[in-house]
Symmetry: C2
């Protein structure tokens, strides 16, 4: 049985392209004692994948020759561990491949939700990142104004919908008229600014007549600088990502830092979703309630086929996804 | 009775110089009902004075033609309020002048500490800024490493001495060999890096073998960028000031922001000393104890004469002070 795998052929210096990846075929690995053989169903495609290519972060750096790492939902095909049985659905740190073997104690058994994609979107990394970052760091109160960048992306859309459910004014920032229309009409944001249209400071100021209390930052760069200038005293900046800075060799910092942080007594705090794992059950409970109440729309952007994973990531970095992007490698069981 | 007053002749575009100030003489004002006439004893000289010339901050902007604002210690000469009597010592928002009138309810009566200068240094803005910023935002634990910039300055020296009293490793950053020697020998820091000597990243890394847990930032700019790169996960950055960015029209931001904040899950938070006024009594109690125990040296840099206030501020921005800088306008009573 052959196993397709996509490896990093070389590390990008500037923008990521298809030339940085290579599809290889090998034999499907056999599980050893304590391991399971997994069939990949869905792979999460995240901007963070690109940042791993810039060096060691909260995980080891990705190097040339490595199979591209990913977070994935898989089905257990064969088990040499009493922990798991064939047919079980699990989440795991994995790689871009049809099949992988993993130590059974390193994978997490999941409930058999229908469809499984919801375990990567609203009940997965995207929804939990939005929930934990907004609730624990942003700490918005009803009536406050939340701004979120990459608002049509996987995390941003949930941040804004949670904010609306909490009674906040929510303003998105997204690229292009179509995405902005999606954010206001489908996701119910109060406003959405098209950063590609120019004049973002004026537009954002007009959309936030009471200033900005919480900024959920997925992008860094100029948009961070602009939003900082509109923050209210004691505002909170949730540092979730810096997508504008990943696909470049020439990063820029917000020129108003740290001055504006001092003057306005802002708090900026970074996090990754695993930091709040002890509160995951709370996040799931709240997200399920909001979905049932119709307050959260689940938006997914599923690319079909392992072979299309490189383009799925390259496109994500250019902002061509709407909702949580993932790659479907095989069918739900 | 003539009253000397220094006004802002014009706002600086680049570096502040003597040409931006003008000494004027006028009649000493007479207090109205509810007011007091004050004789200036000591004026606090702070980097923040320069930032007020850049626009509105936590206070109104300073404009050309304004008497230069300052925080001052004064003696009540004449009172038209039952709150205060001649001979009382008060602290107040004031201006660079021999005499001012103020509404009695807007000034704060002080204990008659000897010398009064301690009310501007260790028991004043400098000591309280160091205490509140470090304790409430930095939250260092014994054994952690604290880095503080402008370590020979008014706030930095107290930050480091408090850190040592708490059982931390303390590394300063200062300009020039002489200041660094003062910081380690007189103030007892474990090490002090001379940023003017170059190679600051390597030097700071060598001085912080366990990384940096708390960075007390008084300067912003390149030194902030460098220190951020050496922070440990979950590190805290106390944003107290950005002296490197005040005396310029071309500010720069740390290029590793917000990426490093996300990856290391840092918290950066700004404050001004008044934010923690409700805990001022705690700060005074702790600072008095440490002074009595010999754990805190009180360092002051007193410039004599109202007419020398412009040069005192211009020099401060170039880093020529060691310890808390103030201007003595008149003698202690």
């Amino acid at each position: 049985m052959t196993n397709r795998q996509i490896v990093v052929a070389s590390l990008p210096q500037g923008a990521l392209g298809p030339e940085h990846f290579e599809l290889r075929e090998a034999e499907t690995p056999a599980p050893q004692d304590g391991e399971v053989l997994l069939r990949t169903i869905l792979m999460s495609i995240d901007a963070a994948n690109r940042s791993w290519m810039q060096g060691a972060t909260y995980r080891d750096a990705v190097n040339a020759g490595d199979a591209m790492p990913t977070y994935a939902i898989c089905e257990v095909m064969e088990s040499k561990s009493p922990r798991l049985a064939p047919g079980d659905i699990v989440a795991t740190e994995s790689v871009w491949a049809d099949h992988v073997t993993r130590a059974a104690h390193k994978v997490q058994k999941l409930p058999k939700v229908q469809p499984l994609s919801h375990l990567l979107s609203v009940y997965g990394i995207a929804g939990k990142t939005a929930f934990h970052g907004l609730m624990q760091i942003g700490q918005p109160l009803a009536g406050e104004t939340i701004v979120v960048s990459a608002a049509a992306g996987s995390v941003g859309g949930y941040v804004g919908q949670i904010g609306k459910a909490l009674g906040c004014r929510v303003v998105g920032i997204a690229g292009g008229h179509e995405k902005c229309a999606f954010v206001t009409k489908e996701l119910g944001f109060d406003a959405c600014i098209d950063y590609r249209a120019g004049g973002i400071f004026k537009a954002l100021k007009a959309a936030c007549p009471n200033g900005v209390d919480v900024y959920f930052d997925n992008v860094g760069g100029d948009i961070l600088e602009t939003t900082l200038a509109l923050m209210n005293e004691r505002g909170r900046v949730v540092c979730c990502g810096a997508i504008s800075q990943y696909d470049t060799t020439n990063p820029t910092g917000p020129r108003n830092l740290p001055g504006v942080v001092v003057v306005k007594r802002l708090r900026m705090e970074g996090f990754i979703v695993m930091d709040f794992a002890r509160d995951d059950a709370k996040a799931t409970r709240a997200l399920q309630a909001w979905v049932q109440q119709g307050k959260i729309q689940v938006t997914e952007d599923i690319v079909e086929g392992l072979e299309n994973a490189p383009q799925a990531l390259i496109g994500l970095l250019k902002g061509d996804n709407t909702g949580k992007r993932m790659v479907r490698v095989g069918p739900d069981p």
